[in-house]
Structures are given as structure tokens and as C-alpha cells.
Amino acid sequence: MSEPSPIARYGMRALALTYLALLLAIPLVMIFVKTFEDGLGPPVEAVTSPDGLHAFWLTVLCVGIAVPLNTVFGVLCALVLVRQRFPGRGLINSLIDLPFAVSPVVIGLALFLVWGKDGWFGGPLADAGIQVIFSTPGLILATVFVSLPFVVREVQPVLQEIGTDQEQAAETLGASGWQTFWRVTLPSIRWGVTYGVILATARALGEYGAVAVVSGKISGQTETLPLFVENEYTNFNLAGAYAAAIVLALLAIVVLVSMNLLRRDPDELHEPGLQAIAEPAKET
């Protein structure tokens, strides 16, 4: 296009940036302003209250279990999808994206139906004295569900790209399957795994809908940090709500910054899930 007139150029820039400012930037700044408008005292008090601390550690626990599980599964699943050919492979490949497509509340309902005390899995477990729904295992299951696709979707394209030459070479030189995996495959997919883990962590930390359904929202027991935000807000403890929200927002910003720093190619545009769904042509 020929050089647009300065008016058109500045006009478009101003319009785009105003939209972004009103929708995203100013609201975000406002939350920081609101949190600290009465000084440091109230927000610090709220997040260090017993319920606040409990919510924080419960969130850490859920993430700490869900993300490692999904990392192991993700690498395994990517290996199976890229290196093996079998009937039903296409089906598995599309099922992986379901957690992206399903409403968080529907995920919660699904877990509630299966793991509740009348459910297929929950019934026998309840007889054995294990409560899943309205208890920590339910929160962990919800977190696992929502963060499932990230590692698979990050590792899959990398595996496809690197091919099997190096692995074959290692094999020829007498390496066992495990040795090949640890010394050849894993080092070459490590960035994919890292991205996947970061994105899964971000999603797992902030999950609200699915967790809200299975938690029962018992303060100090089944309340994760996002649920704590809502509870504080509905109880008119705005300082607490904003303070906990800031903790979550800062974690999100850390995720974003680390993704930007780790990205090998600064121009590489990277959207988890988005490419996977919109580019099915890779599939055979």
C-alpha cells in the first residue's frame, strides 16, 4: 500500500490504542490503584489471613499435582500421536482440544456427575470413605482437566520437526530406549515442554469455573485463590478481593514475561490451541 496519509495513520493508531486502553490497560492499572488506595495494610492483612493463606497453599497444591501429571502425560501423548500410526489416532488428536472448547462450568458438571457420591467413580470411592467432590481431590481433578492440552500441543510440533534421525543414530550406537529418551529426545523437546508447563501453570493457577462447581466453596477448606477473590468480593471485603486478585495478576504477568523472554525468535507468534485447531492440515 502506498504511504497512507498521516491523518489516517495516526487515526488508526489512536483508535486501536484507545480500544486497548479502555478494555485492557486502564482496568488493569485501576486494580492496582484500588488495592493500595488505603495503604499497604488492608491488602496485606487480607492475603495473610488464615483463609487467604489457606487458599494460596491449596492453589499451589492443585497446581503442583496437576501440572507434573499433565507434563508426563503430555510428553507421552505427543510421542504416541507423532510416532505411532493406529486406528483412532485422529480421534485422540481431536479429543485433546476438548478442554479448550468446553465451558468451565460444563467441565465442573461433568466431574460432579462422575465423581460425586452417586457417580460411576465417586460411588465406590465414597463407600471406601474417600470424598472427591467438595474436597481437595475434586479440585485437583478439575485443575488436571483444564490444563491437559498445553504440554501435548507444545511438544507435538517440535517432535514432528526434529524427526527420528538422531534417535535412530543413538539406537544404532547401542543406546537403550530409556537412554535415547533422556539423552536425545528430551533435550531436543525441552523448550516445547517448558512452554507447555508455563502455559499449563498459568491456566491451572487461575481456573475458576470448573473449580467453583466441584469445590462447594467452603472457606478455609476447599477455597482456592480465585474462589477466595470471589468470596471476598461478595462479602464486601473489597481490599481482600483486590489483593488476592493482584497476587493472581502478578503471577499471570510473570508467565507472560517469561514466555516472552524464552521465545527463541522474537517474531514467532505463538498461540497454544489456536494453531492446533485452525491448522488441521498437518494431520494425515
Binding site: 456427575l113 493472581l248 488441521p280
Partner: protein
């Protein structure tokens, strides 16, 4: 979107590798079991529960006035925000690719924030600016406008991130050629740039729509969840679960599931058609 890799290259050679985790059948079995237990069986339970009391009960559940109103609000608002996203998403992508100004890198990196930010925090941030004690004097709480604004917030990155890479790769020579032949900028945009961007815009819109249909966390605080007014489908489902009417919840859930799977399936089909079209 980047052009698809050639299928012949993507097919791996059959190698005599010893899989690191036991046999192929074992690894496949682990993957399928995990996926079934975590995702498939629970979702199947929703579908089963919705039809457990017969098709009539299912139909009654989704045609109940409160449910109809919630579904209508969800679909209509999602369609509106998709149009807004198509316009402003493309504009933002354009400004980020073709314009130069200080702080562009920073602006580019905050586009992804709605993906990283927990949804409940997204709702709270909007309340801070557009709530009861809004510094701008704009209070949108408990209105349908709030539903739209919250959905715009959470779906912001989709169109921008879909259009941006296409715009980066778009050859400016075509546009220069058109300009040298005397075409005006508006004409060049309509006849050259826009047709090239359309597939990406559609893909971004479809993903944004699928996301908006099921959105929950960012809406609960700001919309007030008023039945027949600002209550969206996901909030309706949540209410039915809490009042222990899981059959009604499951019926609406299946409808939502159907809509988003349909949208993504059509998008997938569109992607396949396009890649075949381009290769030919």
C-alpha cells in the same frame, strides 16, 4: 496461519526404535486411559444425564423460558462481540504490523494478557473501571453491556493473534503494484489486503465465539446474573447444579457443548478445504 507442512514430509518413517516406555501398545493404552478417565467419561456422563429422563425431558429442560432467555443472551452477545473483535482485532493487528511507534513491543506483549489472566480477575478489573464507583462515571454493572464488555476482554487476543502472522507474511509488492497502477488505499485494502486476511479473521472469530459461548468466570461478578436479563447460559447451568437439578443443567450443557464443537468442527473443515485449495 502459516501454510501447512507437506503431508508427505509429516508422515514419520517407520523406524525400528524401541519405544522408551515399553511397547507401543502399552504407551497407547496409558494415553487412552488417562484421556478417558479425565476427559471422555465425565463428558459422556453429561450427555447421558441430559437424556436420562427421555428426549421430552431434555426438550423441556432447554425450552424452559429461563433457559431460553439465557441461551439467547449468550448466543446473541457472542455474535455481537465477534463482529467487534473482527473489526478491532484486525485494526490492532494492522497497527502492530504496519505502524511504527514507541512502545509497540510493549503493546504487542500485553495483547496476550487476557489469556494469562484468571477469568475472575478479569471480571474484577473491569469492575474497578466500570463498576459502581467508576472513576469515569460509567457504571455498567448488572447490565447486558457488562456481558459484552467482559466477553470482549477475554476474547481480545484471538483475532489479533490470528491475523498478525498473515499480515507479516503478506507480500507488500502486490499492494505497491496496485498503488502504481493508480489504486487508492481504500481500494487496495478492499481488493488485496482484506481477501488475504479473511481466512485468518474467520478462524480468529470462530475461536472467539467458541470461547464466548462458554465463558463464566469473568461474568459472575459484573453481570449480577439476573434471570431473564443478564444471566448467561453458563451461569444458568451453575445455578441448576447448585439447586441440585443436574438434568436441566446437563441439557443446557449439552447444547453449549454441541454449539462449540460444531463451530470448531466447521473451522477444522474450513482449514482442510483451504489447505487443499491452496495446494491445488
Amino acid at each position: 496461519m502459516t501454510p501447512p507442512t507437506d503431508t508427505a514430509v509429516a508422515t514419520p518413517p517407520k523406524v525400528g526404535l524401541t519405544p522408551p516406555f515399553g511397547g507401543e501398545v502399552l504407551t497407547r493404552g496409558i494415553v487412552m486411559t488417562w484421556l478417558s478417565v479425565i476427559v471422555l467419561i465425565p463428558l459422556a456422563a453429561v450427555v447421558l444425564r441430559s437424556t436420562e429422563e427421555g428426549v421430552t425431558a431434555f426438550w423441556n429442560a432447554i425450552s424452559e423460558p429461563e433457559a431460553v432467555s439465557a441461551i439467547k443472551l449468550t448466543v446473541i452477545t457472542s455474535l455481537i462481540i465477534v463482529v467487534v473483535n473482527a473489526i478491532f482485532g484486525t485494526l490492532l493487528a494492522w497497527v502492530l504490523v504496519r505502524d511504527e511507534f514507541r512502545g509497540k513491543r510493549f503493546v504487542n506483549s500485553i495483547i496476550d494478557l487476557p489469556f494469562a489472566l484468571p477469568t475472575i480477575v478479569a471480571g474484577l478489573t473491569l469492575l474497578a473501571l466500570y463498576g459502581q464507583d467508576s472513576p469515569l462515571g460509567i457504571n455498567i454493572t448488572y447490565t447486558k453491556v457488562a456481558v459484552g464488555v467482559a466477553l470482549l476482554f477475554v476474547t481480545l487476543p484471538f483475532v489479533v493473534r490470528a491475523v498478525q502472522p498473515v499480515l507479516i507474511e503478506l507480500d507488500e509488492e502486490m499492494e505497491e503494484a496496485a498503488a502504481s497502477l493508480g489504486a487508492k488505499n481504500s481500494r487496495i485494502f478492499r481488493s488485496i489486503v482484506l481477501p488475504n486476511l479473511t481466512p485468518a479473521i474467520i478462524a480468529g472469530c470462530a475461536l472467539a465465539f467458541a470461547r464466548a459461548i462458554g465463558e463464566f468466570g469473568s461474568l459472575v461478578l459484573i453481570t449480577g446474573n439476573i434471570p431473564f436479563d443478564t444471566q448467561v447460559a453458563s451461569v444458568y447451568i451453575f445455578g441448576r447444579i447448585e439447586s441440585d437439578n443436574t438434568t436441566a443443567a446437563a441439557a443446557v450443557a449439552v447444547l453449549l457443548l454441541f454449539i462449540s464443537v460444531l463451530v470448531l468442527f466447521l473451522l477444522n473443515l474450513f482449514g482442510r478445504w483451504r489447505s487443499r485449495h491452496e495446494r491445488a
